[in-house]
């Protein structure tokens, strides 16, 4: 019995370790390839560690994509902040000011979370051209904020719904109005929700490719993932530079994930499960 238990436990750990090896494999290959000079990026020695650390590939990649990296920072940070704020107001209304038809409206909002953007791209481009925001960062930030309305409302609504109504009623009796309740009761305890939503929006806007490609495709203005794709798409760029560029594009979200993994998990679960 005990021996059998030992065997099962051992097998479980072995399987888990195998899975981990699989999930880490691409990162391993990206890192070692980006640290090799091109002459060593050899098809027969792909899996071997670099003999010495060579930073030329990373420097080359950084000079190619750093403008786009900063573009992405300038797009992602304001877009994540603004959409989190909008989401918190909407979530507050949906959770605590249940006007007639609020639930139906909320469901109608959520539809926007799931749709393939291909069904709205053409009017999006036409509209942005008409209002003069096509090909601008402001336009892209605006689009990310609008497409973020459903998910941010969902996350904040879930959080605010867990706050007892008695607290709101007590504040009303004390003379707080709509904004007073938000400012003095909800906002001070909203920080965990803001952290989750900011993280979620930061990750998905940073990792966006399609909307950036359509709205802001000029190479100098494009966000990082569009730039990485341009590098990867041209056969003249060496593998080590490609891998380094991919690592640069992945770095911010990976670092944030490693630092705030718990919040990330909470966002994953809240975004998929209940309203």
């Amino acid at each position: 019995m005990n021996l059998q238990r030992l065997w099962t436990r051992g097998a479980i750990y072995l399987v888990l370790l195998a899975f981990c090896a699989f999930y880490l494999m691409p990162f391993y290959v990206m890192i070692i390839t980006s640290l090799k000079p091109y002459v060593d990026v050899n098809v027969t020695r792909m899996w071997e560690l670099p003999t010495s650390i060579y930073l030329g590939g990373i420097v080359d990649a950084w000079t190619r994509v750093s403008p786009n990296f900063w573009n992405s920072v300038q797009i992602t940070v304001p877009a994540a902040l603004i959409s989190s704020f909008i989401g918190s107001m909407n979530g507050y209304v949906f959770a605590k000011w249940r006007f007639k038809g609020a639930d139906t409206l909320f469901i109608l909002f959520l539809v926007g979370m799931f749709l393939p953007y291909q069904g709205i791209l053409i009017p999006l481009v036409l509209t942005l051209q008409k209002i003069g925001l096509y090909g601008t960062m402001t336009g892209l930030i605006m689009v990310h904020c609008i497409f973020g309305i459903p998910i941010t409302a969902l996350l904040f609504r879930g959080y605010y719904a867990s706050i007892p109504n008695e607290l709101i009623d007590a504040a009303k009796i004390d003379g707080c109005g709509f904004f007073g309740i938000y400012r003095w009761i909800l906002l001070p305890i909203s920080m965990p929700a803001f952290a989750v939503v900011l993280l979620w929006q930061f990750t998905s806007i940073w990792n966006d490719f399609l909307i950036g490609l359509v709205v802001l495709s000029t190479p100098v203005k494009a966000p990082i993932n569009v730039a990485v794709q341009n590098i990867a798409g041209s056969w003249s760029v060496e593998w080590n530079v490609q891998m380094a560029a991919a690592l640069i594009a992945a770095a911010p979200t990976v670092i944030v994930y490693l630092l705030l993994g718990k919040l990330f998990m909470r966002g994953l679960l809240a975004g998929a499960l209940k309203g």
Binding site: Y23, V43, N90, P116, W239, L269
Partner: protein
């Protein structure tokens, strides 16, 4: 009857401590605050879907806008297009491969992690890790791993499989299966997290009861745990299914359309028709088709969500 007598009194004490005219009421403020978002969603989501559908019925297939109504002409052209047929086949391949890998491995890893594992947090972090990177990064990494002359094939050769050297995503006809490996590498962690949360939500008494009834581990999972996790499986199917319909960035970075459109997708076809070939009406038809297709997943999902919010 009794409730209708009670409710006005309750309303005056709690909701309206001080009487205010309706135009200064807090409810009106709440509506004003949410109105911009309602307008934005109404225009940018519902209005744009209607607009796309409209464009799919006009003659705009060049750089110059042409709003001559042509009925279903673009749709008929689309349904007769060979590339469209290949894309539908690829969608079936991709959805089958991607969904089954994500759900099977996601569930399996969640079950293993639920066995009071030492270092669970580390395992969990590693499995979800790929979800933090973009589809482009995933595609770039896997394109390198799936180079026929190196990458994974090199590992195969090292363990004595010199004759097993697949061409992965550049295989005509079946390249899509290879793409699903990369896609599920990225997405399985998400599904695993959902299942793990689901497993943690199952009360221990249920498992104990099953054990008392003489159910072994296998039977407990088969007859108790898996049925209880059906809502999670449903969510997983919707999320992976939506992802299958719209996959674009990963394929762009890995192989593009591939040989003989082996890894072409509807999203890719739509993008190239519209922004490459300026066939706006054809692109709009593909986009509308994708929206309709996703409706089959979204509508039941939102219905189940609605039931949950009403509870």
């Amino acid at each position: 009857m009794a409730t209708s007598k009670l409710s006005p009194a309750r309303a005056t004490t709690s909701a309206h401590p001080r009487r205010r005219p309706w135009w200064r009421s807090d409810m009106l403020l709440a509506l004003l605050v949410i109105t911009p978002s309602i307008i934005a969603v109404a225009i940018f989501i519902y209005g744009f879907i209607a607009w796309t559908t409209y464009i799919s019925t006009v003659k705009w297939n060049s750089q110059i806008p042409d709003y001559t109504f042509v009925g279903l002409k673009n749709w008929i052209r689309l349904f007769g297009d060979n590339r469209f047929h290949i894309d539908l086949r690829n969608l079936v391949y991709y959805a089958t491969g991607f969904m089954s890998q994500c759900i099977i491995f996601g569930f399996l890893i969640a079950v293993l992690l639920d066995q009071k594992i030492k270092g669970e947090a580390i395992f969990r972090t590693i499995v979800i890790f790929p979800f933090a990177v973009s589809g482009i990064v995933t595609g770039v990494a896997w394109r390198w791993l799936m180079q026929p002359s190196t990458g994974i094939n090199l590992l195969f050769a090292k363990i004595g499989l010199e004759n097993f050297q697949p061409t992965w995503n550049s295989t005509p006809d079946y390249g899509m299966w290879a793409v699903t490996i990369a896609a599920s590498w990225q997405f399985t962690g998400y599904i695993m997290a959902l299942y793990l949360a689901g497993l943690r939500g199952i009360p221990g008494e249920l498992r104990e009861a099953a054990a008392i009834d003489g159910a072994g581990t296998w039977a407990t999972y088969r007859y108790v745990i898996i049925p209880l996790l059906m809502p999670v499986t449903f969510t997983a199917i919707v999320l992976t299914g939506m992802n299958s319909i719209r996959v674009f960035d990963l394929v762009s970075a890995m192989s593009g359309s591939g040989p003989a459109f082996a890894t072409d997708t509807l999203a890719f076809f739509m993008f190239q028709s519209t922004f490459g070939a300026y066939r706006y009406s054809l692109g709009a038809a593909i986009g509308t088709f994708m929206i309709l297709l996703s409706g089959f997943l979204v509508v039941p999902y939102l219905k189940s969500m609605q039931r949950e919010t009403e509870r």
